[in-house]
């Protein structure tokens, strides 16, 4: 279909989002998009969710950390934020979602908030709570693989 003349095109805001999960989490763009849609629909219903029109445009995720760019209708930024806060898991992997910033163009969002070279994850063996345990270290952050699942720690703890 021919695209709309400029003054009739919807106006968007772009939310730069950071994601964090346990190191064994497997989160794809499609799954994250589904979770965002469900969160929006559960929070403010079909009408509100259609208004906000949240869409995940860019996505990267590896070893328990990632970032995404989420588009939302101009004027619905706060509702978009609320829906993103309600995303607590993606396919049963618990995730933390935080909005780093909001921009009016994709490029500005990318330049200001995305593409920060994150610390790469490395397997390590750490002393935690008096035992030596396998762990995944990402900069200062350490996810310790303990008996009852992962424990989030930092270099201060081990």
């Amino acid at each position: 279909m021919k695209h709309l003349p400029k003054h009739l095109r919807p106006r968007w805001r772009y939310l730069a989002v950071e994601l964090e999960a346990w190191p064994d989490a497997d989160v794809s763009q499609g799954d994250f998009q589904r979770s965002v849609w469900f969160a929006a629909q559960n929070l403010y219903g079909d009408t509100g969710s259609a208004d906000a029109d949240l869409r995940v445009l860019q996505f990267s995720f590896e070893d328990g950390s990632g970032e995404a760019l989420v588009r939302v209708r101009h004027g619905e930024v706060e509702r978009g934020r609320a829906a993103l806060a309600c995303v607590d898991d993606v396919r049963d992997d618990p995730v933390r979602v935080a909005v780093r910033g909001v921009s009016g163009t994709i490029r500005a969002a990318e330049e200001k908030y995305l593409g920060r070279p994150g610390e790469s994850a490395a397997e390590a063996s750490v002393a935690f709570a008096g035992e030596t345990r396998p762990a995944v270290r990402r900069g200062d952050l350490v996810d310790v693989d303990s008996e009852g699942g992962y424990v989030g720690a930092t270099n201060l703890d081990c």
Partner: protein, 234 residues
């Protein structure tokens, strides 16, 4: 703005990890509200210094009934800066609301819990802060969430009417469950709160910590009576 967290071994993340995450999303401090039998063994000041965020010692009492609660409150009061007592039944809510030594009545609407004007008035009189517990708003769905929202609304109406003190928390058990203050403002607005209410609720944790630190300091004798500057000279 502060958040109150269940740090390992009560939760899945250590105090340091909570502090690091909370600092990165814009909190001024965290209150450690681990249960008394699962208190983390860390030096809060070291963590606070490392991540540039206030770390407040606290303890959460999860009593089964009022007689158990009454003994434990006296014991735990001296142990921590902020004393949080979990409600959950109408009797327990009322008992905690009437306990002057408790700072926060946590999760009053959870499970069978319910509040009425008596509980809220008592809490107001005794400066027991009622908690707006956002955990199930953010992490549950369907009927459970509807119940949580209904509970929050009832509590909000009562708190508004009696001008009772309150706190807001997402009751996180791991750093993944933390949400930034701005996100909570947005969620709060969506479910019927004012943005200012949520902000006040998050700030109240910090005010409680400050007040209690002052009370526990050596200069404080009783309300209105303090050791002055000139005592040593006289």
């Amino acid at each position: 703005m502060y958040e109150a967290v269940h740090a390992n071994p009560d939760g899945d993340s250590t105090v340091a990890r909570f502090a690091a995450t909370a600092a990165s999303v814009g909190y001024d401090g965290v209150v450690v509200r681990s249960r008394s039998d699962a208190q983390p063994d860390v030096d809060h000041e070291v963590v606070a210094e490392e991540y540039g965020i206030d770390v407040v010692s606290g303890v959460e009492l999860d009593a089964e009934n009022t007689s158990q609660a009454s003994g434990a409150i006296a014991n735990l009061r001296e142990q921590a800066t902020v004393l949080v007592a979990r409600g959950g039944t109408p009797e327990l809510n009322r008992f905690v609301g009437e306990s002057q030594r408790v700072d926060v009545l946590a999760g009053p609407m959870r499970g069978r819990g319910d509040v009425n004007h008596v509980v809220v008035k008592a809490a107001e009189r005794n400066a027991v802060h009622l908690e707006f517990d956002f955990s199930r708003v953010l992490r549950a769905s369907g009927g459970e969430r509807v119940q949580a929202l209904r509970g929050l609304r009832k509590l909000r109406e009562l708190v508004d009417h009696y001008d009772a003190p309150y706190v807001v928390s997402v009751d996180p058990e791991s750093h993944l469950q933390l949400r930034a203050p701005r996100e909570l403002l947005a969620v709060g607005e969506e479910i019927g709160f004012d943005r200012d209410q949520i902000r006040t609720g998050l700030e109240s944790w910090g005010e409680l910590a400050e007040r209690n630190r002052h009370r526990m300091s050596e200069d404080f004798i009783t309300s209105g009576v303090e050791r002055g500057r000139y005592e040593e000279d006289s």
